[in-house]
């Protein structure tokens, strides 16, 4: 019974990610695009897909992957996410460099590019923080608040970016998927109660001084 439930959850996750990508693969727009631009679009979609997987892994919500192993996979998935974001931007650069330069300089006429670029930098910052965490002996509290805060920026930025883009993705499947990403992220942030760490610092310091 438990294994059937596990199977159902994994199948549901797979379907949730694969369906919007499959719908995008049938878009008539692809006929008028170069392979590089098509690949760039799908790299963006896979990056968006990973944004659903990441909070589920970090929270240990997936069957067979409790918090410990889940976070190990989360780290590798984060690396893939960075690679997807880089591929997405690189593919767009090869398609039309001036448009990407405008976007990176926040001088683009398209409002969605700002959200995408902010999410991109937040992705790099979150990954960098994860890489330097051990080396720089970043305190757990700073790490938790920093990484979670950046994750929220990544998710909100990417969702708005994706919804505003008129591209190969289906409007409905894209919106439903973005909703799933938002719900999963909200659930994790609520469970982690990351913001309480900001307040707890003060009360912890106060109670520590009172301890014998």
């Amino acid at each position: 019974m438990a294994s059937f439930r596990a199977w159902l959850i994994w199948a549901g996750l797979g379907l949730a990610i694969a369906l919007p990508v499959a719908i995008a693969a049938t878009s008539p727009l692809l006929a008028w695009r170069d392979p590089v631009y098509i690949a760039s679009g799908f790299a963006g979609m896979l990056a968006l897909g990973l944004l659903l997987v990441q909070p589920l892994l970090a929270g240990g919500y997936l069957p067979g992957l409790p918090v410990g192993p889940g976070r190990l996979v989360h780290r590798w998935a984060g690396l893939v996410l960075v690679a997807m974001v880089v591929s997405h931007v690189l593919g767009l650069w090869l398609t039309s460099a001036p448009d990407v330069i405008d976007a990176l300089l926040f001088d683009s006429p398209t409002p969605f590019s700002v959200w995408g670029v902010v999410a991109m930098w937040a992705t790099f910052a979150a990954a960098l923080l994860a890489t330097l965490r051990g080396r720089l002996h970043i305190p757990p509290r700073v790490w938790r608040v920093g990484h979670t805060g950046l994750a929220v920026v990544i998710v909100v930025g990417s969702v708005v970016h994706a919804l505003l883009v008129e591209g190969s993705m289906g409007v409905v499947s894209k919106a439903v998927f973005c909703l799933l990403v938002l719900v999963a992220t909200a659930k994790l942030v609520a469970d982690l109660r990351a913001w309480t760490l900001l307040a707890r610092r003060r009360s912890a310091a106060a109670s520590q001084s009172g301890q014998p």
Partner: protein, 166 residues
Amino acid sequence: MTGYLSTRRDVLALGSAAAGAALVAGTSGLVTPAFAQGLAPTPTMRGGANNYLPGAPIVSRIGGGGFWMTGTVRRAGDGAPLPGIRIQVWAHTTEGREDDRHSHGATLTGPDGVFRLEMPQIVPIFGQPHGHLAYGGQGFRTVFLRPVMPSARDTSLSAHFVLQPA
């Protein structure tokens, strides 16, 4: 002695007068006498110049056609239609990328300042279905436009130039 006492009412009156003056000065844009009371020049749009091809040839049609880019060209100030003005048009279409040479073409305005150029269907690229237009000749200041189509299914797009003498 009746010294001047500044009241709050005075401050408000003075402040609103200053704000009003600032508003008038700020919104009038170019305070050039010739244009002060007339038609303001069209500003270049952000991203408008991307993939511009200087000197693109005048063509009767770009590619196979099926889509119409239309618009008008007028002079700033008096709004007089400008005939014989060269306008370059380019976009990502069903027949090519925005930076492809064959995606570019130019046309001239008629006696009424109207231009019309047939081109292949514009398709969404970089998140928006949009076209590019440029005026880059002598006599007037260069203007680049980047109009966005209200719907990707539209089969025409228009953009209007008001040029400022150079």
